[in-house]
């Protein structure tokens, strides 16, 4: 801490005594604070070590083929990670496709179009949406979204897009309601508030003079957004999107309810699938301690951790650079 002359107070003996005690206090306090900081490093290191060492048996048993195999056979002990990695990436991608435009739209509306009184209310509402526990999204998705998808959306989409060459492949198959698309949609709803609040913060923080000069030249709100605000805040917006991506990758409960939980890989977005997190949540109770299956689940956990760490690290770098300028 700051070095301070201990002769500030005139009374010598008592002051010396007090400053010595103060120094001891600083020493102890500093030690406790450092321990708390190191504890965080320890927890993180623990998570990494435990998952990687726990999954080591799976990695060494199946080798690199683990990442490309779609097998999931607990009886013959054949496991592969490809399906769940595929499901994780596809649902996250669907979530982003829906969440980014919506988050942008809401942020744009909040910053540029909303009447101030209404804006505060709506902003709070959006933040409350982010606070709803994920299991609630899961239940709501399972009881409301899934039937709606099965009865209305999926048959309609199949009728109109199912025959289009190429992308038609994505929209074929029985309309179960549960599947990759439903999982992605629920994730989109969950991450929209996160991305939106980062975007709102960034859009508000742009220097007013930049926007004012563009408006002064006669630009419309959209032109100011596209040609001034977005280029200026590009990196922070990317950071916000990555933050949302990180959330979507690791989300468990909401996805488990609606994804259908089947270890299949195919083109159809309507088909049931699984993600790493949902697979772990469902299969864990059925894997005995010390079994190969448990090791496989831990290996999947390690893979999920690596994917989400990369995303989060990117997010942090983007956000730091974005807010620095």
């Amino acid at each position: 801490m700051m070095e301070l002359p201990s002769t500030i107070t005139p009374g010598d003996g008592a002051a010396m005594d007090r400053s010595a005690r103060g120094r001891l206090g600083d020493l102890v306090f500093g030690m406790i604070a450092r321990l708390a900081g190191w504890f965080i490093l320890l927890v993180m290191a623990g998570i990494v070590i435990v998952l990687v060492s726990g999954g080591w048996r799976a990695f060494s048993t199946f080798g690199p083929g683990f990442f490309t195999s779609t097998a999931w056979n607990p009886i013959s002990n054949h496991f592969g990670a490809a399906t769940s990695i595929f499901g994780t990436l596809v649902t996250t991608l669907i979530a982003l496709v829906f969440a980014v435009p919506f988050a942008f739209g809401v942020a744009f509306w909040l910053v540029e179009m909303a009447p101030p009184a209404l804006a505060r209310f709506i902003e709070t509402a959006v933040q409350l949406l982010a606070a709803v526990p994920s299991i609630i999204f899961g239940m709501w998705g399972f009881f409301i979204v899934v039937p709606f998808m099965a009865h209305y959306i999926e048959p309609t989409v199949t009728r109109y897009l199912g025959h289009v060459p190429g992308i038609g492949l994505l929209f074929r198959g029985a309309p179960y309601g549960t599947g990759l698309l439903s999982g992605g949609l629920i994730l989109a709803i969950m991450i929209t508030p996160f991305i939106c609040s980062v975007m709102t913060d960034v859009f508000v923080s742009i220097p007013a003079v930049l926007k004012e000069s563009a408006f002064g030249l006669g630009a419309t709100r959209w032109e100011v957004m596209r040609q001034v605000v977005l280029p200026w805040s590009r990196q922070a917006v990317m950071g916000g999107i990555m933050l949302g991506t990180g959330r979507a990758l690791g989300e468990t409960m909401a996805v488990t309810f609606v994804i259908g939980n089947s270890n299949r890989m195919g083109w159809s977005l309507f088909a049931p699938g699984n993600t790493i997190a949902s697979l772990i949540a469902l299969e864990f109770p059925e894997s005995a301690a010390g079994s190969l299956k448990l090791s496989v689940l831990l290996a999947l956990g390690a893979i999920l951790m690596i994917i989400s760490f990369i995303t989060l690290a990117c997010s942090r770098i983007f956000l730091q650079r974005g807010t620095a300028n």
């Binding site: 801490m1 301070l4 103060g22 120094r23 600083d26 102890v28 306090f29 500093g30 406790i32 604070a33 450092r34 321990l35 708390a36 900081g37 965080i40 490093l41 927890v43 993180m44 998570i47 435990v50 998952l51 726990g54 435009p101 739209g105 809401v106 744009f108 179009m113 909303a114 709506i122 509402a125 949406l129 606070a131 709803v132 526990p133 994920s134 609630i136 999204f137 899961g138 239940m139 709501w140 409301i144 004012e212 006669g218 419309t220 709100r221 959209w222 990180g246 690791g250 468990t252 409960m253 309810f257 949540a281 864990f284 689940l297 831990l298 956990g301 999920l304 951790m305 760490f309 989060l312």
Partner: protein
């Protein structure tokens, strides 16, 4: 705001003179505004749809037995009492464990900058921990705590929640301490106070409103967590407050009940969902209100 409807109508005259290009620009502007309004309406609609579903389906189970009876076999009229107690116990204990550690680590990040690299590393790792998939925390606690002990326990659930709790408190404590004016610290140092008293009695005291808000928000966040509890406290159909035994919690009970085939269990799941959502949202609103009130009082 410069983009108020009034100023727009003033320069609207200017656009119209420009011919086809101006018409196109105006149309694009209108179209984008429409889409933004639509996006906002849809997002709000989703929020209200969730709340509406919870209220209409969950309110039917709000009765005294729900709060007094433990979970029971389908058809025998059980309640949620053990799950509510279990949730409160695990969340509360996790907060008790997590708050001091999180606050000290937050103090470390904001006040011990002379430690250099390691401070940035701790900050980076704490941010990572803030967004680590919560199911991985469950796996971690399972492997280091449940497997050696040989059984699931409420303590394991508490620890898993504490791991999720700490980084949120770290972040808020650091952010709030940074808001404390430099002059205030200098004044305290000038009076001869040792560093630790400056931090505790001056900085922390003036930041306590914000830190309390952060702790409340963190409480709200962990009280709805399901994934980390699945492999740690597991859930318990009977009344149990022992930390050394499997312990029920609202989210896990909701998860087990919602997927069941029994109508009364599904009903209980909705009621539990309503309870937890109301608690979480009320905490959030309270915390935000507190922050705005305290924030304005400080200036």
């Amino acid at each position: 705001m410069m983009a108020s409807p009034k100023s727009q109508s003033i320069d609207a005259g200017g656009w119209q003179r420009g011919g086809a290009q101006a018409v196109r620009r105006r149309l694009v502007e209108r179209f984008v505004s429409l889409l933004c309004n639509l996006a906002t309406v849809i997002v709000l609609f989703v929020l209200f749809s969730i709340l509406w579903t919870l209220v209409t389906r969950g309110a039917g189970g709000l009765s005294l037995p729900t709060f007094l009876h433990s979970t029971a076999a389908p058809g025998s009229g059980g309640g949620l009492a053990n799950a509510i107690i279990g949730s409160c116990e695990q969340t509360g204990l996790a907060a008790l464990i997590g708050t001091p550690i999180g606050m000290m680590a937050g103090i470390y990040l904001s006040e011990f900058a002379q430690d250099g690299r390691i401070v940035s590393l701790v900050r980076f790792v704490s941010d990572m921990l803030l967004s680590v998939p919560s199911i991985l925390v469950g796996l971690f606690i399972y492997l280091i705590f449940v497997e050696p002990a040989g059984h699931f326990s409420g303590m394991a659930g508490t620890l898993a929640l504490a791991v999720l709790f700490i980084p949120i408190v770290v972040r808020t404590t650091e952010d709030m301490l940074r808001l404390v004016p430099r002059a205030m610290r200098e004044a305290a140092y000038a009076l001869g106070a040792p560093g630790w008293r400056v931090i505790l009695n001056v900085c922390l005291r003036s930041a306590r409103g914000g830190i309390m808000t952060g702790i409340l928000l963190a409480l709200a966040r962990i009280s709805g967590e399901t994934a980390p509890l699945l492999f740690t406290s597991l859930g318990n159909l009977n009344w149990s407050t022992s930390l050394n035994a499997p312990m029920a919690s609202l989210p896990v009970t909701i998860y087990q009940y919602a997927g069941s085939a029994y109508d009364d269990w599904v009903q209980m799941a909705w009621t539990g969902a309503l309870l937890i959502t109301v608690a979480v949202l009320a905490t959030n609103i309270l915390a935000r209100w507190w922050l705005t009130r305290n924030g304005s009082a400080q200036q």
